[in-house]
């Protein structure tokens, strides 16, 4: 039983990790909690489903198209809503983020209705149902296996982008000191837009995987998952990408174990409690750096 919980927790955790990196990257470059990120994750699921049903596209095409659309959506979010407020009081940017989140949630409700919708089972390849790995009483289906492989690959890819490419380095420079970075010739706006695109694409993939795995999607799913992924980012240290990945996995496992062994109705509470405890006891998170103010 425990092993099954761990396996499920890992699946959930990897999904949280994919969402969490989006939050942490954006916070790293512009110090904004992108409340609307959860809605991008939600749109990923719905758009993928729409491409499958309305346009009859094959699964891989639908997935990639949905990711691309969400990446664009993320960039639009920055350009239209956040960029004009780059120098405005921080509270204004925060309210804008929440406002966009509410707008997108309700937009989805208008387009697709507020009832949960199932994923398009027929589009899934047959082998997804087949058991890939089996040990003890635990079964890992090929669907779960695919989720692991895709999620981990994406995170490795993200790490490569951040550490090895010029834009990735520019992102890290921006996160440390925006003024200096722009003085070094880095096009701040472009790098920020790229950050949004990257985070949104990954978030969209997370949404697609969740809707596939749990066979359901609903317009408010972004809110729930978003808060928890944010908690994961805080756990790992807000601003740290490896931290977000680590935090996501830890949170996913903690939540699943908590729901299984301690209390099921409070499963969402696990994330909040972890978030509060981490902030009180170790605000820089497990992998983050502490910051002090100069007199």
């Amino acid at each position: 039983m425990l092993e099954q919980q761990l396996v499920n927790g890992l699946t959930l955790g990897l999904i949280y990790a994919l969402i969490a990196v989006g939050y942490t990257m954006v916070y790293g470059v512009i110090e904004l909690i992108n409340f609307a990120h959860g809605e991008v994750y939600m749109f990923g699921a719905f758009l993928c489903m729409t491409f499958l049903t309305v346009f009859g596209a094959p699964l891989i095409v639908a997935v990639l198209l949905a990711m691309a659309c969400c990446a664009i959506m993320g960039v639009l979010l920055d350009v239209v809503a956040y960029r004009p407020l780059r120098n405005a009081p921080r509270l204004a940017a925060l309210i804008t983020a929440i406002g966009m989140s509410i707008f997108l949630q309700n937009l989805a409700m208008i387009i697709w209705g507020s009832r949960p919708l199932p994923f398009v089972k027929e589009a899934l390849p047959a082998f997804f149902k087949v058991t890939a790995l089996s040990f003890g009483e635990v079964n890992i289906s090929w669907m779960q296996m695919t989720i692991y492989i895709v999620a981990v690959s994406l995170m490795i890819l993200l790490n490569l982008v951040i550490t090895k490419t010029r834009t990735g380095t520019a992102m890290r420079a921006l996160a440390q000191n925006r003024v200096c970075a722009s003085l070094m010739g880095i096009s701040v706006n472009r790098v920020i837009a790229f950050t949004f695109a990257l985070g949104s694409g990954l978030g969209a993939m997370a949404g697609i995987m969740v809707s596939m795995f749990y066979n359901t999607m609903y317009p408010t799913m972004g809110y729930n998952a978003g808060v928890k992924a944010f908690a994961a980012a805080v756990l790992g240290g807000i601003g740290s990408v490896p931290g977000a990945m680590f935090g996501g996995v830890v949170l996913g496992i903690a939540e699943t174990l908590g729901a299984g062994y301690v209390s099921s109705p409070y499963r969402d509470g696990v994330a909040y409690a972890i978030m509060i405890l981490v902030i009180i006891l170790r605000p820089s998170g497990l992998l983050g750096r502490a910051v002090t103010e100069k007199a």
Partner: protein, 351 residues
């Protein structure tokens, strides 16, 4: 905008008199009265929240948590012990303030966004608690049948005539309208007095520059805790009133949306501007009601109003990030001691 308020001058007393007389006039409408009472509840919430970002520069994203604590404290005490509203109010306020202290003690030393995140998490936990602890709160089924406010002055009436029994149970909107008026007036007066006092100045110093405030002698932690306790106490007060007015409570009345809405009211009115909070509350609640009526007329479901709300907030932040009114600590410029000083300074120039 300051010119507008100056223009209002004596006109505002006329408006005040009209507002007080309104329920008694033949043109009064139950629906309008209901909305006005709702506005009053939010006015109190906005004034209470304003203490945190407006006076102290601390972002509180979980204000609805204290609103909910106040409401459920009032509701449960009424249902279980049938206590009078007038006894419950101080109990609810103290409970709210107590939770403010409990939450604030470990978290108010944190910088900036961390405090905001913790308050958000706390309010979500409050909702979870209210939803899941069914033995206490009946969870999603809610608490119906809360007794309305009643005024029992029989002890007074018997002084005049032993057969008189002055007991009045609130019914309809009108008595709540006047009670709400009183509540808003009291909190407004409290806020104005605090603003122009050693406490208010200490808070403003913390907002402007915490390091300089500490060097000037202000104990940051102590004053932040006081701010949080007062703020949460006021939120709980609004909750207690709300419980004894709507006579029904359920956990989904206390979601994050409410925190966001009140925050928007505070920002719209100008951070630290007490009068602005009143206006922000009136504007956003009226907007909601207008949308509720107008949108179905355009063929859209009434729920679309949240979408419009979100869009409007984004637009307002885009063009007026500082709100509509400048945050001038008005009472510090108009109290009698300051007016006296003004005269002395003017005399110096001429003398």
């Amino acid at each position: 905008m300051r010119g507008v308020t100056a223009l209002l001058g004596p006109l505002k007393y006329l408006l005040l008199a009209a507002a007080l007389a309104y329920p008694l006039t033949p043109v009064s409408d139950v629906y309008v009265l209901h909305v006005l009472v709702l506005v009053m509840v939010y006015m109190v919430l906005a004034m209470g929240l304003n203490i945190m970002p407006g006076f102290c520069g601390l972002l509180d994203l979980g204000y609805v948590g204290f609103y909910g604590i106040g409401a459920y404290t009032a509701g449960l005490l009424t249902l279980t012990y049938d206590l009078s509203f007038w006894v419950i109010v101080p109990l609810a306020v103290v409970n709210g303030a107590l939770w403010g202290v409990i939450l604030g003690a470990p978290t108010l030393r944190l910088v900036g966004d961390y405090f905001a995140i913790v308050t958000f998490g706390f309010s979500e936990l409050v909702v979870l608690f209210l939803t899941n602890e069914i033995w206490l709160t009946r969870g999603p089924l809610g608490l119906p049948g809360i007794a309305p406010v009643s005024l029992d002055l029989s002890w007074l009436s018997t002084l005049f005539n032993p057969e008189w029994d002055w007991k009045y149970v609130f019914s309809g909107e009108t008595p709540y309208y006047y009670l709400g008026f009183l509540m808003v007036a009291v909190i407004y007066a409290v806020m104005r007095r605090v603003e122009d006092s050693r406490l208010g100045r200490a808070w403003l110093a913390i907002r402007e520059d915490p390091m300089a405030a500490a060097s000037a002698g202000v104990n940051l932690f102590e004053y932040k805790i006081i701010a949080f306790a007062v703020s949460s106490g006021i939120g709980a007060l609004a909750g207690a009133f709300f419980a004894r007015w709507t006579l029904f409570l359920s956990p989904d009345m206390f979601k994050f949306w409410e925190s966001f809405l009140v925050l928007c009211m505070v920002v719209l009115g100008g951070l630290g501007n007490i009068r602005g909070s009143l206006i922000g509350a009136a504007v956003l609640i009226s907007l909601g009601e207008v949308l509720r009526v107008v949108l179905p007329g355009l063929g859209l479901p009434a729920e679309t109003r949240f979408l419009v709300y979100g869009l409007i907030m984004v637009l307002i932040m885009r063009f007026r990030p500082g709100g509509f009114f400048t945050a001038v600590a008005e009472s510090t410029m108009s109290g009698p001691l300051i007016m006296d000083l003004r005269r002395r300074l003017a005399a110096r120039k001429t003398g």
